[in-house]
Symmetry: C2
Subunit: 157 residues, 2 copies
DNA sequence: GTGCCTGCAAAGTGTTTGCAGTAGA
DNA sequence: TCTACTGCAAACACTTTGCAGGCAC
């Protein structure tokens, strides 16, 4: 995702806030700057840490209160791999149809797209009568390092 | 899943316990009976409730300590839909490749199978070099009742 | 000035665990 | 007998919330 795209997403989010009569406080500004300056997937705790590096006054509560706004706006996607904590994906705005594979050891997350998912959706709609709101294919597996070495050197790469 | 299949799964699980030198206590027996007498997906809390109806002495701790054994044996599958609690699927032994669609209102869960998922897995393995351990395609949508009435009458059907 | 927003700390929720007594094999 | 197993309650980890003061607009 290019810098220009990132800035566009950021701007859209600002509009989203304005539209809902929500204020752009300095803490929110910091959090937004952080989110829209990375491609990395992150956890709430990581977002707090990164934000505090720029502005000590950002609190855990504000991070947790801002994350739902980010997901509601569609600029960030929440991901749940069945771990205790959730991951957030800041690349969602540009690629709303991608899915994820996570390494079971180092938790490296790789994105991918596949037309076949849409095909499955069509199949489901016809067969079961559900209309589909959201779909997420989340795959757990071994990255190449884990396969070769039996363990990954660093976590959360 | 037929009654015969259920009993087979139950028997397999007993073997699994015996093989690991684990005991069949009366509480475990109750939990096992409950699990292998339903087709329904359930939560830990529901399993506790149902078990207590048969035997008051079953505690929450024992339920939580037994669930990992059930999943480890392959007779039950753990499912995570991003809700606070996990669901467990007792129909996994017979249909190890099925996936789930959950209604966003009443949380009704419907199972389905599709060859396309395997195709996606093959694609991933080739393209990204990951080997796949587990996959969960989780679809959220509206069941027919929700589509027609705008809301579902009962939750957790 | 209005009321949304903040940090703090306490509360909440699903799940796990230490302990001392219990019971299966 | 020998230990795995049990219930209980406290502990846990992540997330949410009540409150009193603060700040964007």
């Amino acid at each position: 995702m290019s810098v220009a795209d990132k800035n566009l997403a950021k701007e859209k989010f600002m509009h989203f806030l304005a539209h809902k009569n929500l204020r752009i406080t300095s803490q929110r500004q910091t959090i937004i700057d952080v989110v829209f300056s990375t491609d990395k997937h992150f956890t709430a705790e990581e977002l707090l840490e990164w934000s505090r590096q720029r502005d000590k006054s950002v609190s855990r509560a504000t991070v947790y209160r801002t994350l739902p706004l980010l997901t509601e706006s569609g600029m960030v996607r929440e991901m749940d791999f069945g771990k205790d904590y959730k991951f957030y994906d800041p690349n969602y705005a540009d690629h709303p149809n991608h899915n994820h594979i996570i390494c079971q050891d180092c938790e490296k997350i790789v994105e991918f797209e596949s037309d076949k998912i849409e095909e499955i959706e069509t199949e489901i709609t016809k067969r079961l009568g559900f209309s589909i709101k959201a779909q997420r294919l989340q795959i757990t597996g071994s990255c190449e390092e884990l396969k070769k070495l039996g363990a990954c050197k660093k976590k959360g790469c």
